[in-house]
Symmetry: C2
DNA sequence: CTGAAAGCGCTAACAG
DNA sequence: CTGTTAGCGCTTTCAG
C-alpha cells in the first residue's frame, strides 16, 4: 500500500539530497545538475511523488487555475466553447474551475467571491454580465478577467466576441438581396451586448437600403420564449423572413413554423440564425446562420488572459472576430449571391 | 486601491485579536465568542478579507474541489449533467475542476495525475473508462472516485448509471408489441458498459419473445458513424424498426432516414433512442427514447462521493436508476400500450 | 474562549 | 549548483 501522500522531503531523504533540491527539479525554471535531477527523479518515481499543486500555489502565488463562469449550457454553443477553452488551457498548463452562475440576481457576486477564494490566476466570464463593482473587485484582487461572447462599455475590461454588428448587417443584406419584403427579428435577452449588436447591425443593414423592420418580438435566448415570439409574430401580417438572434432560438422557431403553423421553410418564410452551432448543420434544421468563429474566439481569449497573467500591465483589449454567413437551406439564396 | 491580498493576520491586527481567532471565526466548526466574532467580522468586511481557500486546503487536507473528467461535450446529455453536477456540488460547498480527456490512449493517465496534483477531494469520471491501475492510483492517494454513466466490474469502484439492461429490454418489448418484424440495432462504442448493457437488455427482450436481431451495425456514439451505420443497414433488406444506443446517434439516424433515404418515421420505420436528451423532445425529432434520470443520477453521484469523502470506509456502491420509456412520434405506439 | 506556537508542502532568497 | 533558512496563509494543538 503506497503512502497516502508523498512529500518532497521524503523524496529528498531517499535521494540523499536536500528538500529544496527536489523542489528545484520539479520547478519549471529549475537549475539542478543532471546528476541530482536523475537521483531525484528516480526516488520520486519509486515513491510515486508528485508535487502538491496547492502548496505550490500558496507560496508562489500562482495557482494555474482559471475560473470559468458560465450561465447555462443548454445552448450548444457553450459546451462547445467550454470544451475548447478547457483544452486550450490544459495545453498551456492551466486548469478550469467551473462556476455555474444562475440568473438569480446577486448570485453572480457570490460566485465571483468564491472564485476569488480559490486564488485563480484569471477569470473567463462567458455570457454573463459583470457589474463594474465586480470587475473592480477582481482588479483589486489582481485577478485579470476577460469576457467571452459579451462585451461591456467599461474600457478597462477585455472582451472577445464575434463582430456581431457586421454579422447582423450581413444578414440584412442577404435577406434584402433575396427579395424579402416583410422582415422580422426575434431578439435575445436585451441585456446582452450580443443581442443589442446583432440587432443594431441588422437594423443598420436594413436602413442602408431604406428599409425597416416589419415585426419584432423578444425571445430572451430561450427556446420556449422564442416559440411564443414566433407565434405572436405570425398572429397577423406574417413576415416572409425572420432573423433570429441565435441558433438556439432559431431551432425552436423553425419547429414552431413548420409543425405548429404548417409553414414551409424557406418557401413561405426564410430563417436565419446566429452562432452556427453544430445542430444548425443537422439536416432537420439546415439553418442558415452567421458563424461565430469559436476556435479563434477561444484562442484569443486564452491569449489575452494569459498575457495579462504574465504581465499585469497589458492593456485591456476588445477583440471582435469576423464570422461568415453560412448558407444552408433555411433561407432563400439570392440569385448569383456571393458573400 | 485595495490591498491585493488581505490576510487573516491583517484582520487580526485591526480587530485587536490573534490571528487564530480570525481563523476560528471563519472556520465552520468554530468556537468564538459572539463578541470576538463580531469584531473580526467587522474588520474583515472593512478590509475585504476572505479566507484563502488554497492555504486552507494545504493545512486541512481538504480542498473542497472535485475533479470531473469528461470525454466530450457534444452529446447534449453531458453538458446537461455537468451543469447539474456543478450546481449540486456548489450547493454543498464544493467546486468542480474540469478535465477534458481526449480519447488518445494514455491521455487519461496524464489527466488523472494532474487531477491528483490539485488535491481534489474526489473524482467523478463521466463516460470514461478507468483502468484498474488508475483507480488503484486514486485509492492510494486516498481520493474517492465514482463513475458516472459507466460501470466496471471492479467491485471496489462506485458507479452510477441508469438501469441500461432494463431500459434495453423495455425498448424490445415496446417494439415487439408494436408488431415490428425486422428489428435493427445501432450500437454505441463497444467498450462502453452502457452500450453493452443496453444491447444485452434489448437482445434479452427479443429473445424472451423468441425473436432475434434482424440487423446490427456500430455507430460508436458518433453522429457521422451512426449515419454510415444506418446507410449500411438499409443497403439491403431494410428493418422496420431500429433501436439506437443513444439519442445523439439516433438524431443522425433520423436525419439520414428521412433526408437521405426518403423514408417516413414512423410509417416506414420506427426509431427509438436512449437518454432523452432535450433535443429528443424537439418537434423536428420527436424521438421516443428511454429517459436517463439525470437529476437522480446526479444526486446519487454526489451523495456517494461526498459520503466517501466524509467517511473513507464507506463501501463502494453501484447504483442503477430506472428510467421510463418516453413515448413520442418516432415510433409506432402499440394499440392500448401502457408502460 | 483565547493567544502562542507549530506546522501543512512547497518555493525562493541567501550564502557557500 | 546546492543546502540552509525563511516564509506563504492558514488550521490546529496546547496552555492558560
Amino acid at each position: 500500500m503506497a503512502q497516502t501522500k508523498v512529500t518532497s522531503a521524503q523524496v529528498a531523504e531517499r535521494a540523499g539530497v536536500s528538500q529544496s533540491a527536489v523542489s528545484r527539479v520539479f520547478t519549471p525554471g529549475a537549475s539542478a545538475s543532471p546528476k541530482t535531477a536523475a537521483k531525484v527523479r528516480k526516488a520520486a518515481n519509486e515513491l510515486g511523488y508528485r508535487p502538491n499543486a496547492l502548496a505550490r500555489a500558496v507560496v508562489s502565488g500562482k495557482s494555474r487555475m482559471i475560473g470559468l463562469v458560465v450561465a447555462y449550457l443548454e445552448n450548444q454553443f457553450y459546451p462547445d466553447v467550454l470544451e475548447k477553452l478547457s483544452n486550450a488551457l490544459q495545453e498551456r498548463g492551466y486548469h478550469v474551475l467551473v462556476f455555474m452562475a444562475s440568473q438569480q440576481a446577486g448570485n453572480i457576486e457570490t460566485v465571483v467571491e468564491e472564485i476569488l477564494d480559490y486564488q485563480v490566476d484569471g477569470i473567463i466570464a462567458a455570457s454573463v454580465a459583470m457589474s463594474s463593482d465586480l470587475s473592480a473587485r477582481c482588479r483589486a484582487a489582481g485577478v485579470p478577467m476577460v469576457l467571452f461572447n459579451r462585451s461591456q462599455d467599461d474600457p478597462s475590461m477585455s472582451a472577445v466576441t464575434s463582430d456581431n454588428i457586421a454579422g447582423g448587417r450581413k444578414v440584412a443584406e442577404f435577406l434584402l438581396a433575396g427579395g424579402h419584403q416583410k422582415i422580422g427579428y426575434i431578439a435575445g435577452w436585451e441585456g446582452a451586448s450580443t443581442q443589442r449588436d446583432r440587432e443594431a447591425g441588422f437594423l443598420q443593414g436594413l436602413a442602408q437600403a431604406g428599409r425597416a423592420l416589419h415585426a419584432r418580438e423578444v425571445g430572451n435566448f430561450r427556446m420556449d420564449e422564442a416559440r411564443d415570439a414566433a407565434l405572436r409574430m405570425f398572429a397577423q401580417d406574417p413576415p416572409d423572413a425572420i432573423f433570429v438572434a441565435n441558433d438556439h432560438m432559431a431551432m425552436a422557431v423553425a419547429d414552431c413554423l413548420r409543425f405548429e403553423l404548417g409553414l414551409n421553410i424557406p418557401q413561405d418564410v426564410s430563417l436565419v440564425g446566429y452562432d452556427d452551432v453544430p445542430a444548425a448543420a443537422w439536416p432537420a434544421y439546415d439553418l442558415t446562420s452567421v458563424r461565430q468563429p469559436a476556435n479563434r474566439m477561444v484562442a484569443q481569449t486564452v491569449d489575452i488572459l494569459l498575457g495579462k497573467i504574465e504581465d499585469a500591465d497589458t492593456a485591456p483589449r476588445k477583440v471582435e472576430l469576423d464570422g461568415p454567413l453560412i448558407l444552408r437551406g433555411s433561407a432563400r439564396v439570392p440569385e448569383g449571391w456571393t458573400q
